[in-house]
Symmetry: C2
Subunit: 552 residues, 2 copies
């Protein structure tokens, strides 16, 4: 906690200040836009951008993560709260804060239980398909706001304004950085400055509304924004806690995955170490803070964090500066925020999520691993067809299925002796000497409930293929653990082999594994012996086989 402050260096300050300012200018339009995606008044997006990054700076482990509203998490918020409260009602806002509280508490519990390893849950294709599908859903949801009405009922002034803003933003995205570079800015500065385009377009749009007849023509605006800092908003919380438990868990999960994938990308660039359990605590505390300040679920955003990083952030101080600037913006007169045209905000949302539409992972997976490509497609299509919550469930089911499938295919090698040596190798890869009476199997995986059935089947298969075998030696070099299920299985295999008069011997059992096996009855009941090495097992068993010639 606050380790970064203790080792803070003066040289970091300029970078932190400039990143703090840049991210604040990016955060104002983005926070408002993502509040709209969540179905909330735009100002709530700014509320959710103040306390959460401050709290994250205390607990999180990433140095450059920018915590606040994020498109996909906002979409999930809307999907959860939409059916529970009418849009625009005060209940909606209360439930959104409550959802952040539930997610935050769950993240804190997971952090306390050190469940950070769950960050490895989604494969990259699943994550990419999920992001792609969500981006399409978000963009599609903003079309009516962009055009001032549904497809049949387009409001021309709104549509003109929205599409103009969209074009400007797309052009800025494509060309602005290059133009600034040509104008003499250094490349890093040019890239960063180009990220301020949404803020400039929003300011221009607001100015246009102030000086033109567009409001009179019916272009929608954000409306009055209450000045001042947000207050606690959970007082009226009603009996919806139960309904928010499961969605809160799903959102907490996505908050964690999204933030970790953003932070990992950046940590790798600076060889920083990311502590996933600290991330859980940081994100949990940030969401609780968001709830307490009238916000909604927040997470680390890759787009904003990358800008923070590129603008020179060296420590979470940058985020603290951003938060301070946003608080100032709320304390300052906020009348101008009321004039912000909704079509322009919709344009910023659409352009922001266009950046999340990438096919590269799907293309790569399609060429490299068809199964991964199908997982991408299943998740992406799942989000589009069944919604974002179902998309998470599909992603979880696919990941789970893949894990079990992988676990259930352990590698097992039949060993043969390399002539004239003490070495035994996989006979499929090296020409090794074998004997019909002794079957040597090396198990190349820890034995546990996920693979014990497969190992048992493989043993039976090899025994069918070696009908003359009267001794089975399991070489356990690669077995570092045997769980309770596998212990039972070993006991049952032993009994079954005993009935068939086949000896079961264990060789090269690792010290810690052996220590634990000694606490059980398996070793006393073993229908065979323990050997220090495979060679010792073979040399010994050799002598027990009838007709063995000791002179060979």
């Amino acid at each position: 906690m606050l380790q970064w402050l203790r080792r803070y260096r003066r040289a970091w300050l300029p970078g932190d200040v400039s990143a703090g300012v840049v991210v604040a200018m990016m955060m104002i339009p983005q926070g408002m836009a993502y509040a709209i995606v969540a179905g909330l008044p735009p100002v709530v997006g700014i509320y959710a951008s103040i306390l959460p990054p401050v709290v994250y700076a205390l607990f999180g482990s990433s140095m450059t993560q920018s915590v606040g509203p994020m498109a996909i998490v906002s979409l999930m918020t809307a999907a959860v709260i939409g059916p529970l409260a009418p849009a625009g009602s005060s209940l909606y806002g209360v439930l959104a804060a409550q959802l952040a509280l539930v997610s935050g508490l769950m993240l804190l519990v997971c952090g306390a239980l050190k469940l950070g390893f769950l960050a490895n849950f989604f494969s990259r294709p699943v994550m990419s398909g999920f992001t792609f599908g969500s981006a399409v859903v978000i963009a599609q949801g903003q079309l009516p706001a962009l055009l001032g009405g549904d497809f049949g009922h387009i409001h021309m002034p709104s549509a003109a304004l929205g599409i103009a803003a969209l074009l400007l933003l797309v052009l800025a995205r494509q060309w602005l950085a290059g133009l600034l570079r040509l104008a003499g800015l250094n490349p890093a500065l040019a890239d960063t400055a180009s990220k301020l385009a949404p803020m400039l377009v929003v300011i221009a749009g607001t100015a246009l509304m102030a000086c033109s007849s567009l409001p009179a023509q019916g272009v929608h605006m954000t409306g009055t924004v209450p000045a001042g800092l947000p207050g606690l908003n959970l007082a009226t919380s009603s009996g919806h806690w139960r309904a928010l438990l499961q969605p809160g868990l799903l959102i907490g999960f996505i908050v964690f995955l999204m933030s970790m994938s953003a932070a990992q990308t950046l940590a790798l660039k600076r060889n920083e170490k990311l502590l996933s359990n600290h991330e859980l605590l940081g994100l949990g505390a940030a969401n609780v803070a968001s709830a307490l300040s009238g916000g909604f679920p927040v997470t680390g955003s890759i787009s904003r964090s990358a800008v923070n990083f590129a603008a020179g952030a060296n420590s979470p101080l940058a985020s603290l500066i951003t938060a301070a600037l946003l608080a100032l913006a709320l304390i300052a007169p906020t009348g101008w925020l009321a004039l912000l045209p909704l079509p322009v905000l919709a344009a910023t949302i659409i352009v922001a999520v266009l950046g999340m539409l990438e096919w590269a992972t799907l293309r790569m997976a399609w060429r490299y691993d068809r199964g991964d490509a199908l997982a991408w497609l299943a998740t992406g299509v799942g989000v589009l067809a069944l919604g974002v919550e179902a998309g998470v469930v599909i992603g979880v089911a696919l990941s789970m299925g893949t894990l079990i499938w992988r676990a259930s295919r352990p590698h097992i090698a039949v060993l043969g002796r390399i002539a004239g040596s003490e070495h035994f190798r996989n006979i499929e890869r090296y020409p090794g000497l074998t004997q019909p009476e002794i079957l040597l199997l090396r198990i190349d995986a820890n034995l546990f409930f996920g693979n014990v059935e497969a190992v048992g089947e493989r043993i039976e298969e090899e025994l069918r293929g070696h009908p003359g075998a009267c001794h089975l030696v399991l070489t356990m070099t690669a077995v570092s653990s045997i769980d309770t299920t596998a212990l039972y299985a070993l006991t049952e295999w032993n009994a079954s082999l005993k009935r068939r008069q086949i000896g079961l011997h264990l060789a090269e059992v690792k010290g810690p594994v052996l220590d634990r096996l000694r606490q059980t009855e398996l070793l006393q009941q073993l229908n065979g012996q323990l050997f220090l090495s495979t060679a010792m097992a073979v040399d010994y068993l050799h002598r027990t086989v009838p007709g063995w010639d000791p002179h060979i």
Copy 2:
């Protein structure tokens, strides 16, 4: 399908006939009892015992599995349907059949997708804890029926009858087999005969009701049983399909796990091969058949299958004979079934589930693997405190968590050269020669999304521990696959190491892995080389290290 019929031998017939008869006598009281557990009229339990085993005989792979009503699946059925329809209503029966249909179709789909590997999902402690908790819930649920009322309002004649039946059954369970053996029966026959005690107690109870004043005193009976075979019961199915989807999936999952664990135990005793994908199809078809004949979810029962096995069943013909006898029992006059006293049926249920209360797995896990013991307790307590559905979810979450946790801890060894040889071994276990400039890591796991983060962290940790290393060699002997996520990670590690001027070399990459990597850009971009062996890598890199003496 029907493979067993093609290779049927005449010698199997006596065993199949006797097992068929014994299981039928066991099935009548058990089927009625488990229908009561599911909240259904007793006769439905007999409906569900006719068509399902016939259909299972066509598709399943186990030779001795007895498919029909089963206590835990009945409990889950009651938990699902209870909130949707009033007990005793015809809607309740329709929904129970509909649930069997949904579960059956899901099992068939899983079978078609060859998802049989999911049988490895629950660890043995989780399964044991789940069974234990469910047994307690079932026994507790039968107490009012046993005593003729709640604890405050015990109906003395009912309680006397119920407790008498309970004592008889407990005594029979403990002593009957022994007594029969003393009376000269051979042990196997004595064991089997003792399993008929519930049938005898039920017949005695019914006779008592017929000749005594107990019915007049208010002892509840099963009531009129409609004669004849069941008809299709899904016609009135209403809009509950959606509500049954998720519970149907959970029940299908438990149906599969319960049946597989029963069949595996028996298959091991006869060295039969069980095909989990065939089991999915067999159980799916059996549940669809149960739905079509007005039943409820069914599965293979370990207690009944063990009796089937012990009574000499050699093939599914035994189950066909059982089904035929049950159908006959329904066609025959069923008036006597109406007199069956409910306290006696409750006693048979309680005694049946007492057999499922075993502490041995918990005790063993507690001594051997504390984590497994905690999983047992979490699942068992979860079922007791939150219900059987929540118990399944807890079991799934624990299994998933364990899988990810295991996957996220791959074994990685730092290698050193065994002096004077071409062999490289783990320096923690063998004294090996190392050089500060070259770090050799052997990755002992397939690289995939579940462990790639952990591998990356370990690499960074080793590089911090070997600050002089300018070459990193990854020995890939144990890597049989690299998924898309891991391919991305390798690419990122390569870029990161390149920036730090550390070479990344791959040694002993397996043929199939190499073939797939060649389709990507990783090898062209590799900041190092591919080597056939670790020894070749070290010999080559040696020469590039400044100050190396070629004469050593």
